[in-house]
Amino acid sequence: MRDEEKYEKIVALPGFQDMLAKKKKFILTSTLIIFILFLALPVLTSYSTVLNHTFIGPITWAWFWAFMLFIMTWFFCVLYTKKASSFDQLNEKIKEEANKELTVKEANV
């Protein structure tokens, strides 16, 4: 079978489309949140002074936000590892499905 045909078949598998949709949703949402939570800090510190209020004693909200960005990084790190291994499982299934489909087709030819 031609390469092109093979890839078309795999892309058409419901499992593959399902995985793509899930992955897209996860990656887009996460990236958007990361962008907003990060860029909001320089925007707020450049154009306003709201973050200069005290959070605990000498620590202001700006510092709190900065430290939260570290915690956010760790959170998204762990989240990605978890999600990615669930995608790994989906991928295994897709590969099995693809192998079945492709060998059947080849037998028919």
Partner: protein, 507 residues
């Protein structure tokens, strides 16, 4: 005292040469040379990525930046920290799945045109040379400050060492030099971190209280705005930092040193943890320097604050700790430049020579020879440039390289992986527009033009921002969009890219 510094420097030189000796024994083919055989473990590559990325100028610069400018110093590191999430979420796994040795391999996996390979390699070489020059200028200045060797000999020492690692030991030597350096840097930072905390009874609130009154800025020290007067410039710089890492060739080629996407994922996760822990400690070293040394003394040693970390080491642990931190900074310089030499050399040898000149048909022997010649030529070019630009601001050179990476590389990488309609014309316009818009905007910026003569030319800058990221990065994407729309060509290869970037090449 000088004897201790010199002994420790020599120890580092000997250790790295021993690594290179063993690496040279197994570096017999191109696969070994470019990717260490693709056999690194996830944690090893993760530590190597962090060793590749945490440069001496960032270590010394961040500690000095926090010490001298308080909150604004954070902007030297936050973008870089979060940039690893961008690498993790958008680039690492598809890159590993599609590529082989270089960034151009990944893009030409979809668009099999020599022009695409050529421009991708040109961007890699340009970014690598800028980045290397930034590191070398910084290295020359630092070594002069730390042990008193003048600029030119310092440069030559660093240049010879980095060439030797790459020339003989390829990616294997580079990786292990980076891993060793990462542990040294983390260890050194950790010792200083604990010593600083002990001065404040391990009470974080106490540290904040102390720095609030320790600097000439008073309470303002903990508030934003000491350094960044122009808000848009701060945002633009952060935008560039956030997106820059995901386009840096010497970081991206590290993902080819592991066997599959899963291991690439592990690598980027480990790198993110190591880098974040390092940054947390560096913030407190900055506070420690501000409170224990004082702003005036830090500025007296170096106006940019680059001596804050070594000076802090001297106050906390005497001459030996000073020597140790100086040696760590030296190891850091060597590890980072070696990584960049390798990325530049692989673009030259694998993309220009084998890919374009020989149409992919060079023999193993010819390729390895080309790679070795390139790993001499690339450092020589960078050293010659560095000799002429020693008075340029190092931080500016570094951020220029990152903005270039974000504008000229990242758009084409993301569009290649994720955009179905993208085509050859789009890929080429994206790379050209990203590269030249960044360079032109910088040439028109306040870094180059200053009415009172503080820059290269005297005059009013035509472009108001020092870092062009917020304009040039979108331009890179728009270039890709318009180039694609204007061409009638339909890319038939996307199904394959879609399958391989998600499932790997063994389907």
């Amino acid at each position: 005292m000088n004897d201790t510094v010199i002994t420790l420097f020599l120890l580092i030189v000997v250790a790295t040469l021993v690594i290179t000796y063993f690496a040279a024994k197994i570096t017999k083919n191109t696969n070994q040379f470019y990717t260490a055989g693709g056999e690194l473990k996830g944690w090893q590559n993760g530590v190597a990525i962090s060793g590749d990325f945490m440069s001496a100028s960032s270590f010394l610069g961040i500690v000095g930046g926090i010490a001298l400018t308080g909150f604004d110093g954070l902007y030297l590191l936050l973008g870089a920290l979060l940039s690893y999430l961008i690498v993790m979420y958008l680039v690492a796994e598809p890159l590993r799945n599609l590529g082989k040795y270089t960034l151009a391999d990944m893009i030409t996996a979809r668009f099999k045109a020599n022009k695409v390979r050529g421009f991708a390699a040109l961007n890699t070489v340009t970014i690598s040379v800028f980045y290397m020059v930034a590191q070398l200028v910084g290295a020359g200045v630092l070594i002069k400050m730390l042990i008193g060797i003048p600029y030119v000999p310092s440069l030559i020492i660093v240049g010879v060492l980095m060439t030797v690692y790459v020339l003989f030991g390829g990616m294997t030597a580079t990786s292990w030099v980076q891993i060793t350096k990462a542990f040294l840097l983390l260890g050194g930072t950790f010792i200083l971190f604990i010593l600083v905390l002990s001065k404040f009874h391990f009470n974080i609130i106490d540290i904040f209280e102390k720095v609030k009154s320790a600097t000439p800025f008073g309470e303002k020290y903990l508030e934003p705005g000491i350094k960044n007067k122009n808000g848009l410039d701060a945002i633009s710089l952060n935008f560039g930092l956030l997106l820059g890492t995901a386009g840096l060739p010497h970081v991206l080629i590290r993902f080819f040193t592991v066997k599959d996407a899963k291991t690439a994922r592990k690598s980027v996760t480990v790198a993110t943890w190591v880098i974040s822990i390092f940054y947390v400690m560096a913030i407190f070293l900055g506070f420690g320097a501000a409170a224990l040394i004082g702003t005036d003394k830090i500025i007296a040693e170096n106006p940019a604050g680059n001596m804050a970390a070594p000076a802090l080491a001297r106050i906390l642990g005497g001459d030996f700790l000073f020597a140790f931190i100086a040696a760590v900074a030296f190891a850091t310089i060597l590890a980072v430049v070696a990584g960049i030499v390798l990325s530049g050399a692989s673009a030259f040898a694998h993309d220009f020579y084998n890919g374009i000149l020989k149409r992919g048909k060079a023999t193993e022997k010819q390729q390895l020879k080309a790679a070795r010649i390139a790993s001499i030529v690339v450092p020589v070019i960078a050293i010659i440039i560095s000799l002429f630009v020693q008075n340029l601001n190092v931080a500016f050179l570094g951020s220029l390289a990152l903005t270039l990476a974000a504008s000229a590389n990242l758009p084409v990488i993301l569009l290649t992986i994720y955009w179905r309609r993208f085509n050859t014309a789009g890929a080429i316009t994206s790379m050209i527009v990203g590269l030249f818009s960044t360079i032109i905007l910088v040439l028109l910026s306040p870094n180059v033009w200053d009415p009172s003569g503080h820059a290269i030319f005297v005059g009013k800058p035509l472009f108001p921002l020092a870092s062009p990221g917020i304009v040039s990065i979108p331009l890179g994407f728009i270039g890709g969009l318009i180039g694609t729309m204007l061409s009638k060509e339909k890319d038939k290869n996307y199904q394959k890219i879609l399958v391989q970037s998600n499932l790997g090449q063994d389907v």
